[in-house]
């Protein structure tokens, strides 16, 4: 916008400079002075008219350009916080949470799905000395909420503190506390629904294999509008888009369950994966760890066990053969002994008979 006006101004300047030069140039020639001077005057008159009309045109164009281009400028004026919400809050639904304090402090978990105008109400029965007036104030994430300090009166033997909070985005979620004179405190933890059953042990899978990583939101919690999957990259999370790499990732969403299928695993695929349950107010994350190992890892203990089995079986069978050989030789010796004994017995009568025969 500014460059266009500068250019226009430049052109007009050049045109007026050219016109002046022409006029000065024209003044030096005397020869055709009579005729030339009348023409020159006429020319000069014409140029001035051109210059004057172009000046108005320039102004007109500048104003036009300003109107066209500068409509998009936002002027930020720093005003008082917060801006009045009356017009927006009429669209949001309302909800109320009230807690009666028993004891010194208490915590209440509030699950929110959509933006809401949330009324938080605290009731305290007081301590021994029930003062008629005490101060109560609100805190968000440890910092005191502006203009929240009130004087609370004792009604029906109770102190009551109530405030409406507009919960629109993730910035409004957090830990809200109502404080009664720094003595009693009720915490309201505002958050989107968390996944209860989160797998704490890593999923182990192998290179070249495919794996299914699943996340589930319980039936008792509200269902998310959709699910997203993220892979951790250092401290950041990168969202996984199946359209970008359809051969590697597949996401199957089913209201309360989601499954991420990773095909053709590589060692780089190992790491932390986050499943995000998307609600209008916020996305809650669940963490699953994936470990990808090489097939050789379980193979080593397996081969060790097989070797042990073979060694033991061979040892047992060899020991048995050795023992049976010992028994065999021992048995054979015994048999030989008994045989020689019987033979000896047989020989003696034979000799006797031979002797008898010889005698005869």
């Amino acid at each position: 916008m500014e460059s266009a006006t500068h250019r226009l101004q430049g052109d007009i300047m050049a045109a007026s400079a050219a016109a002046e030069e022409g006029g000065v140039g024209g003044g030096f020639s005397d020869d055709a002075a009579g005729r030339g001077s009348r023409e020159q005057v006429r020319n000069r008159e014409n140029r001035r008219e051109i210059i004057m009309s172009s000046f108005w045109e320039q102004l007109f164009f500048q104003i036009l350009l300003l109107l066209v281009f500068c409509r998009h400028i936002n002027t930020k004026t720093i005003g008082p916080t917060p801006p009045p919400l009356v017009s927006i809050s009429s669209i949001l639904p309302t909800d109320i949470r009230s807690v009666v304090l028993k004891g010194e402090s208490q915590t209440e978990n509030v699950e929110l799905v959509n933006p809401v105008n949330l009324t938080l109400e605290c009731t305290w029965t007081g301590n021994q000395n029930k003062l008629p007036n005490i101060t109560g104030f609100w805190r968000k994430d440890g910092d005191e909420v502006e203009n929240s300090r009130l004087t609370v009166q004792l009604e029906n033997d109770q102190y009551n503190l109530k405030r409406v909070f507009s919960i629109v985005s993730v910035k409004n979620l957090g830990n809200y506390s109502c404080m009664f004179e720094s003595e009693a405190k009720i915490n309201f933890v505002l958050a989107a629904p968390h996944m209860g059953e989160v797998r704490d042990k890593p999923i182990v899978s192998y290179v070249g294999d495919s794996v299914v990583i699943a996340c589930k939101m319980e039936e008792t919690k509200p269902k998310p509008s959709t699910w997203n999957w993220y892979k951790a990259n250092g401290t950041d999370k990168e969202q996984i888009f199946t359209a970008a790499e359809p051969l590697r990732y597949e996401i199957k969403n089913d209201e309360r369950k989601t499954k991420l299928v990773v095909y053709n695993l590589t060692e780089a695929d190992g790491g932390l994966y986050y499943c995000g349950a998307v609600y209008s107010i916020n996305t809650t994350m669940g963490l699953v760890e994936l470990k990808v190992i090489n097939f050789k890892e379980p193979l080593k203990p397996f081969i060790a066990i097989v070797i042990e089995v073979i060694v033991l079986v061979a040892a047992i069978l060899f020991y048995e053969r050795y023992q049976s050989k010992k028994n065999y030789t021992a048995g054979k010796e015994m048999n030989d002994q008994t045989n020689t004994l019987t033979q000896g017995e047989n020989n003696k009568p034979e000799e006797g008979s031979s002797m008898r025969q010889r005698k005869v």
Binding site: P298, I305, N335
Partner: protein, 489 residues
Amino acid sequence: MSPAPAAELDYKPPDGGWGWVVVFGAHISIGFAYSTPKVLSIYFKEIQEDLGAGSSDMAWISSIMLAVMYAGGPVSTVLVNRFGSRPIVILGGLMCGFSMVAASFGSSLLQLYFCIGVIAGFGLSLNLNASLTIISKYFLARRPLANGLSMAGSPVFVCILAPANEYLLQKFGWRGSLLILGGLMLNCCVAGALMRPVILPRKPSTCALQKNMEEQPNTCNTKLKGSCMNNAKKFLDWSFFKDRGFIIYLIGNVLFIFGAYAPFVFLSAYAITQGIDEYSAAYLLSITGFVDMFVRPGTGLIANNKWVRPRIQYFFSFAMIFNGTCHLLCPLSKSYAFLVTYAVFFGMSFGMVFALIFECLMDLMGNQRFPSAVGLVTIIECFPMLLGPPAGGLLVDIFGEYKYLFLMSGSVIVIGGLFLFFMNICNYYMLERKKPAEDREQNQNNTENPDQSTSDEEMKAAMEQTEPRAKEKNGAQRDSCPDNAETPN
């Protein structure tokens, strides 16, 4: 009091020595057989997510494995009779190992059903039958103790494999874990190698041959070969159904098995409905297993006692009634302490029954008929085992509470126990009445066949026996060293 039984064996079992090593081998083998279907369930959740199956589909893996393990009994019997225990246990171990390794590469549910369910199940059935048979061959006087010690393998291996499987799952995922579990099951081959065939004692003068005599029908002499091969080839010996003792045992056992497993399956769910947290509920089953581990050998020791041994069938029925009563009293428990007490007594009674379950069958059938009998019993027990837990589940679905499940289990088991008790009384009474007639027959036979009677007398003197037996079986089923009959000295 059971009457004095007749001679059954034609050799004196070692009752010790290498027998205890065999008991250790049988402990490992039976341990894997009974514990593997139970501990595999640890992997189911992971496999379910990876293969996209439902949880009932995964439960089928265990059911198929148990069913095949029990149904493979008769086939296993034939193989054991033909080849002896050692090669069969080694073969069973190899089958289990390789099937688990194959399953670790599986990419569909059908592959898992086939590898883990059918092949590993069949391997385990070979292991089970062969281990029980070899115990009956090595022990007679101390057989209840040997049985108790070897059956204790089941709870011991459950206690070892359950945390080991969890650790493997976390470290290697389900595929690596199945691979390593297959390797561990190969240790059944080591157990098989330990199961040396029984060396029959021989008189020194008769044993010119220096090879080990094994109970293999292929070493039978030609006269007996025909009947030996016939026995080996029969898958199911229907003549068992004429044996009154066998029928009584079978009916009692069927009733027991029908009610026995349902409480295991539903105990933690029941505890959770009583308001107990998940970990304490799972702890109850560990308590049961732990108590079981010590009760089984203890029961074997008690059953070995000279007062209890002749009355072992009554002891068995008492254990069954005890188990059933525990289940009947379970719904009365209102707090965790009561449930723990129930778990302890459940473990005790379950251990007692299982320590005696095969001992009683050995007692009834004798060593020769035991392998065929156990095959027949396991295949018939397959049906109540598969029907029991789903029937319990059906009761839970219909009535909405678990107490009817325990009442059903308890009452069925108590009926089984009472049936066994009273029918055994009748059976022994009738056998006592028949015994004088049999003795008279025996004396007549003695005058006709001096050889056979002298060997019979020797055998009777050598052993203490506990069951009544039919005399005719002896001649046909004796597959001993043929020299004995041929060369009396």
